[in-house]
Amino acid sequence: MSIFILGLTVILAGGLVSIFLGRRPALASFLAVAGAAVGSIISIFPCFKILLSGIAESMRLEWNVPFGSFFIKIDAISALFLIPIFGLSAIAAVYGMGYLSSYSSRKNLGVHWFFYNLLLIAMALVVVARNGVLFLVSWEIMSLSSFFLVTFEYEQEKTQKAGLIYLIAMHIGTAFLIAFFVLLGNHNGSMDFDKISVLPSSLASILFLLAIVGFGTKAGFMPFHVWLPYAHPAAPSHVSAVMSGVMIKTGIYGLVRTLTLLGTPPEWWCWTLIIIGAVSGVLGVLFALAQHDLKRLLAYHSVENIGIITIGLGVGLLGISKGSPVLVVLGFTGGLFHVINHAVFKGLLFLCAGSILHSCGTGHIDRLGGIIKRMPWTACTFLIGAIAISGLPPLNGFVSEFMIYLGVFKSDTGSGMNELIPSLIVIGSLSLIGGLALACFTKAFGVIFLGLPRSSEAQHAHEAGTCMRFSMVILAACCVILGIFSPLVIRFAENVIPEITSLNTEQIQIELSSASGILNHFVAASLILMGIIGIITVLHKLLFGRRIVREAVTWDCGYARPEPRMQYTATSFAQPLVDLFRFFLRTNKDISRSEDIFPAQSRLNTDTSDICEKYIYQPGFKFLSELLAKLRWLQHGRIQLYILYIALTLLILLIWKLMKA
């Protein structure tokens, strides 16, 4: 525990020093990044130790806040979430140092790095806090510091809008969490998480729903996800990577922690999670498909992956309520492994997106093209991330989805509706998500990196700097390593699952060993696959040794002058699927074609705005503002009357107090 605190102190020190070095941006960045990286490395060691041994460590200090105590504890669940938090934040910080260097003349980087390190500390505290007040305070610091990171380019109007939406969404979510902790604390008689009494089932259900909304807003469940497609594109890329890779996972952490506090789950909780997961997953990837902006596309993919994680948790929970160890182990392990995997590949993809933005100045997919030749490192790492996020073998993304599938395929809860519906929803949605994710990432990679440049920005692209390349290569390597070593990696669940359920530890062990055994076969298959690819590549080279190999233009059906503009664009690539799912997407098509008999300019503009925003939040907030407008007579700007309100309120409170006494 002391090592953990030491690490956090180093991170904080780095941040504090940098805030005073605003005039020397290079030094400020370096010290803050060094603090974040060194601190993370220091703090990550105790996390590994706790995850492997399963022995929790805790610390409790007095804290002069009503109902509060500085009670922190690292158990296996916390450790599991801390590892990606520290790992990804450190890597993204190194990337950010390179990424922000071009801003050093215009922005105060010291302030940015202070909030970055603060966000890192707040995330770590959220995950280890074991007191409701401490949790909420850390949660709020996390939301606020990330708000300042999102609004880095505050002079742009779209960033201001994004920041505002983010701030409001976070606080609506927090309001539900305050209600959650007050109800829980009121029943338990203490805000500490270790004083758990058995909850009546109605209260447990209310708490569960509050947690779904409160934590779901952070995690990005449909329909609480509306802030993601605004905040992620607005933030600098290393911040997007951290927010999407690990910060939204604190929502998942909150949900998992809630499950440990609420006792045996009734069956409908599992359904709720599975359905939320399926809806978030399928709609997330569909909306991603319809986007033109790379970072917005990636933001919707976060919704999709949170959906997959939630499906996994739902399957695990179903196992608890049915007493089926197979479902528990494969569901939770798959879901939680996906938490780590998503942190790695989504972090990687956001960093790659940052390199593209940095080099081409635009994230608009249809304006790019052919940059694989100018940015081979970014292209190669993006390709690895794209294969991983599409859930394709042999990388890590496949393994976690595979485990969830396997859980449902192997489930042994008998026949009838109870067996049918989870199989149908889980398998149906996962397979559809898989197919659509493939469509989305072939679109992203194919249009951005392949073909010919569609604009002069893309023509003059240049490779990212050393810091940025370093971070991307490390994360890409992690995608491969987590896939190849998956039989070992899933052993993390050995100590995590017993924290969530009271299921027999031996049974968990047996199931986990069997899962590991299955993954060994998968790894063998992957290694053979890679071996064969290697061998055939060599043979292929040899085959071409003495052949005539020519280069020519692409077959163009006899056009005199093929143009890069004739290429298929991302919009046209996605069009069949977007049209097929128009019921959900409701893409706005603005076509102006010339009616003349002579050729003239015509244009097509497609725009897919979020249905939840359009049909739930905008009418909802409009209704609310109309309702509240009726109270506007209270606000008239006369200070004397405001003082009267205060005096009256005090008087009423005084009378109430006296009457009670």
């Binding site: 694989i372 859930g391 394709l392 073998p393 595979f402 599938y405 396997l406 449902v408 395929f409 192997k410 026949s415 009838g416 067996e419 049918l420 149908l424 398998i427 149906g428 996962l430 397979s431 559809l432 898989g434 197919g435 659509l436 493939l438 990432f441 072939t442 679109k443 194919g446 990196f449 392949l450 073909g451 069997s514 299955i518 076969h521 998968f522 298959a525 053979i528 064969i532 690819i533 055939i536 590549t537 292929h540 085959l543 052949r547 005539i548 190999v549 280069e551 233009v553 692409t554 077959w555 163009d556 059906c557 004739m566 290429q567 298929y568 046209s572 690539f573 069009q575 069949p576 699927l577």
Partner: protein, 303 residues
């Protein structure tokens, strides 16, 4: 035992292109032509392997590594799928999921290769490929889940060895539904009519053929061969479900399966001769129909 395991893979490697030959002969018969020799696909592959190559100046490394990945994937898949009750080299729980996703990997690279040429025709094909495959995936996986739930096993070899005549008698409706669903998956994944027409050389109407328009020489040979293998492997899955022959005589089992594969190829030829390709807008309906059949089968099995 190891001999039989290797035989299972080698059989696929040797006989796969023959399916294309049979289909072509069947189509020739219906068209009243003499048709090409039965072994023409082998000659084609051999001819292409000995040729030089032309690469587009727009392409990158992806274009060159794509065929290699596609071929490696079918090799691994050939080690997973059992044919006619033969044992397989790679057999583990959940191998059917890996099987479905391996083809996803090869599709990923095929689509990227098409995008790499900067041709709008190939982009069109790629776009259609991802659209239709996204809809076939649920049909395939839910169908596999249905047979997995019925037999209680999650590896292809075990599943197929426990589908016997009794199983068919017990759950004939479900098996028939899965059979039809997988037939549609088979036709769609292998780019046959009514989803795609392998014969037209009009770029606007094609899917698979248009994606490989810019490939030539050995690369094209590898792609053709991988496509034939894919047809064989998906056919083997269909065979495993439809032909419940599990006698002690390996020769008899394999012959029965081979006979079914022959019939499947002839059936494909008949379908191609007797109906036109569906309009592209109607293809999703067919594929969603296949998914619905799989769902119904799962409902029948788990009711």
């Amino acid at each position: 035992m190891i001999f039989l395991k290797i035989l299972n893979t080698v059989l696929a490697l040797i006989t796969a292109p023959l399916l294309l030959g049979i289909i072509n002969r069947t189509k020739a018969f219906f068209a009243g032509r003499n048709g090409q020799p039965l072994l023409q696909p082998y000659y084609d592959i051999w001819k292409l392997l000995n040729k030089g190559s032309v690469y587009s100046i727009a392409t990158s490394r992806i274009f060159r590594i794509g065929p290699v990945v596609g071929f490696s994937v079918v090799l691994i898949a050939a080690a997973i799928v059992p044919f006619g009750g033969l044992p397989v080299l790679l057999d583990f729980q959940g191998d059917l999921i890996l099987f479905a996703y391996l083809f996803g990997l090869s599709r990923f690279f095929t689509v990227l290769m098409a995008m790499d040429t900067a041709s709008s025709f190939e982009g069109m094909g790629a776009s259609r490929e991802v659209t239709f495959s996204a809809l076939t995936e649920p049909a395939l996986l839910i169908g596999l889940a249905a047979i997995a739930k019925y037999t209680g096993y999650v590896s292809l070899a075990q599943i197929f060895s426990s589908i016997n005549f009794d199983a068919w008698l017990n759950a004939a409706p479900a098996f028939i539904l899965i059979g039809f669903a997988f037939l549609i998956v088979f036709l769609s994944e292998n780019s046959r009519i009514p989803v795609d027409d392998p014969n037209t050389h009009l770029e606007l109407t094609m899917i698979h053929e248009v994606m490989i328009l810019d490939h030539s020489g050995p690369d094209l040979a590898i792609i053709l061969y991988s496509a034939a293998m894919k047809m064989w492997l998906l056919g083997a899955i269909l065979t495993g479900i439809v032909i419940p022959v599990h006698s002690d005589n390996v020769f008899l089992n394999v012959s029965a399966a081979l006979l079914f594969m022959l019939l499947l190829a002839v059936l494909t030829g008949i379908i191609e001769s007797s109906m036109a390709r569906l309009r592209l807008l109607h293809v999703p309906q067919l594929l969603i129909g296949a998914a619905t059949l799989s769902v119904l089968a799962l409902i029948l099995i788990l009711r």
